[in-house]
Symmetry: C2
DNA sequence: ATTAGCAATCACCTTATGAGTCTGCTAAGT
DNA sequence: ACTTAGCAGACTCATAAGGTGATTGCTAAT
């Protein structure tokens, strides 16, 4: 594909993203002032259509990018604008007075993503079993229960009331024991190790009790990730203007209520990696009218933006990237603080 | 208003709820077989319209109930059907294997409300400060923090990491002291009392530390109620079929994301009380196209259903009532279990 | 390889038409 | 005083028809 064709494709995507209307050869000529005639542009557009980058709504409408066209645009033609100073400030400020609680921090993050991009912002909470155990506390609740509290390095606190008849001193001893031998381990590793074989050298009565206890703590519950979303309303505004929209919207809402499917939809990435999933590339059929930009911020947590296929990728990608980096930085600090303790 | 007029009003509301179409005098005659002619019915309808119970979309359309009409229907004409056996079973079964965690229980409840009524189900979490303190645990996190855990009678656990340099034994003593003197008190009362005046007789060094500590625990955070919703998709399906619907839907979503306004919208009630808010009766303007059925299940928690004004009040009210009672029963059991400890 | 010019295609908007529904009114009946 | 029959008028809804404007594809000339 020669330079002019690339340029034309870029202008088509660009213009369509901004206006939402099919782009004609005329428009390209006028707005972007190429030094060729509209007929030449038409010829190039025909080529681009045959290659599958653009399409048209009816036989003589202007051209609209296909998913493949957006993909080419994002991969080769996208110029990532640095985030406007104002926005950078807004983000730093919002994170400024740091929240103590992780869930508030993540909610805040989702809100930022949504309000800065004008689409739906989402954050998938970290997997607790990917974090490291900082502290276990066991507290007797008379007569026959105990409260167990797990504190992980991200400050995530998981508490559970478990039935046990062990007396208070016994619990305290077990707590000490667990803290000494388990501190700094990943909760997930612990779980698998413990189910496979009891810890070596743990044979006496005390450790058996400890073992039983910790098995009650480490359950599938730990793997569960929650989905936080903000800005659903934006989505309705941007995407739906035609008939049948309601049915589309309904499907989308159903999907958002089904966390497991959504998790599938935002794709797997390695920590720090950002991916875009454009339209029909999505494995989940209901999301074909949308695009997803998502970033793994560590501990299997994911944040990102869900918007119409026709969205400003430059803005969305750079915003997601920036916010993702901020969040990673904040979590790193919080982790460091935890380790210092 | 004589009996026949009441009957006609009832049939209009009834039929409109079921079909969604304006009701004509003919229809009433055919479907409900009154022994008068359609002209007579028309005359009565005219009266009902003059009184403001019904209205019409245009000069010669059939009649549609007004908010006042629905109100009269709900207050005087509604026959509460007992919930179908199947549904009762479904509810009992869903609650059968009891969740340990309160938030899962409430989420479950919202889901039940939504799926059984086919509208949006919501649950507003209890106010923690309305529950009674069952237990406080203070655990040292070396070097200069402590983990404080509050367990209330509903099993709600609120934990917080607070900075303190007090040594371990000191914390344990304070914990004992707090447990002895505060157990069984309402968290909310504690908060107000403590801000007004320190506890009497608490003058020594130890109690001053305890005082400082507990003040860090009891914060506005405790008052915060979360909103859990399920079945948003239902709402889109039932309510919106005409143009401009998107704008309406967008407003609704905005409202749902703004918890404080929603809390205002579902109204205040006393524990156990069920209220209906029909259409324009709602203080919040955005909700004028909807009705709310809500029930206070204790501790300032509210559950209910949000649906179109044109909804099956008989079904929705009885479902809400039944589920509300189940939830109250479950919470009572959980409270009793806590007190026995 | 590029361009000008023109016919053909199609969405979109407005207007027209006809069938169908339901009310309000009047005058007659009970 | 209440009820009824019958009919004109009001209005929706669906569909069709015609006009306008945008845009392409094609062909022949440059």
């Amino acid at each position: 594909m020669d330079a002019r064709k690339r340029l034309i494709l870029k202008e088509i995507v660009d213009h369509y993203i901004r206006t939402g209307k099919a782009v004609s050869s005329q428009t390209i000529l006028e707005k972007y002032g190429l030094s060729v005639s509209s007929a030449t542009i038409r010829n190039d557009m025909k080529y681009l259509e045959k290659q599958g980058y653009i399409t048209k709504a009816w036989s003589s409408s202007g051209r609209i990018p296909t998913a493949k066209g957006y993909r080419f645009f994002v991969d080769w033609l996208l110029e990532l604008s640095e985030l406007a100073r104002k926005q950078q400030h807004a983000i730093l400020e919002a994170y400024g007075f740091q929240k103590q609680r992780l869930d508030e921090l993540l909610q805040q993050t989702a809100f930022l993503l949504a309000s800065l991009t004008g689409h739906l912002g989402f954050v998938l909470t970290p997997r607790i079993d990917q974090t490291e155990l900082e502290f276990i506390a066991l507290v007797k609740l008379p007569p026959d229960h105990a409260l167990a509290v797990l504190v992980s390095d991200l400050g995530i606190v998981e508490s559970r009331i478990i039935p046990t008849t062990l007396p208070e001193e016994q619990l305290a001893k077990i707590g000490d024991l667990l803290n000494r031998s388990l501190q700094g381990r990943r909760l997930g590793e612990l779980a698998t190790e413990l189910t496979e074989s009891p810890l070596e050298g743990w044979a006496d009565r005390l450790t058996q009790d400890a073992f039983a206890l910790i098995q009650q703590l480490i359950t599938p519950q730990l793997t569960r990730q929650r989905l936080i979303t903000e800005g659903l309303a934006h989505l309705l505004q941007t995407v739906f203007t035609w008939e049948e929209a309601i049915e589309e919207a309904r499907k989308l809402l159903c999907l958002l209520e089904d966390e497991s499917r959504f998790i599938q939809a935002i794709g797997k990435t390695r920590p720090g990696e950002l991916i875009t999933i454009i339209g029909e590339e999505n494995l989940v059929k209901e999301l074909h009218p949308y695009s997803v930009v998502s970033l793994n911020y560590g501990y299997d947590g994911v944040l990102g933006v869900l918007g119409p296929v026709r969205m400003d990728y430059s803005k969305v990608v750079s915003t997601t990237q920036y916010i993702g980096n901020r969040l990673r930085a904040i979590l790193a600090v919080s982790k460091a603080a935890a380790l210092k303790r």
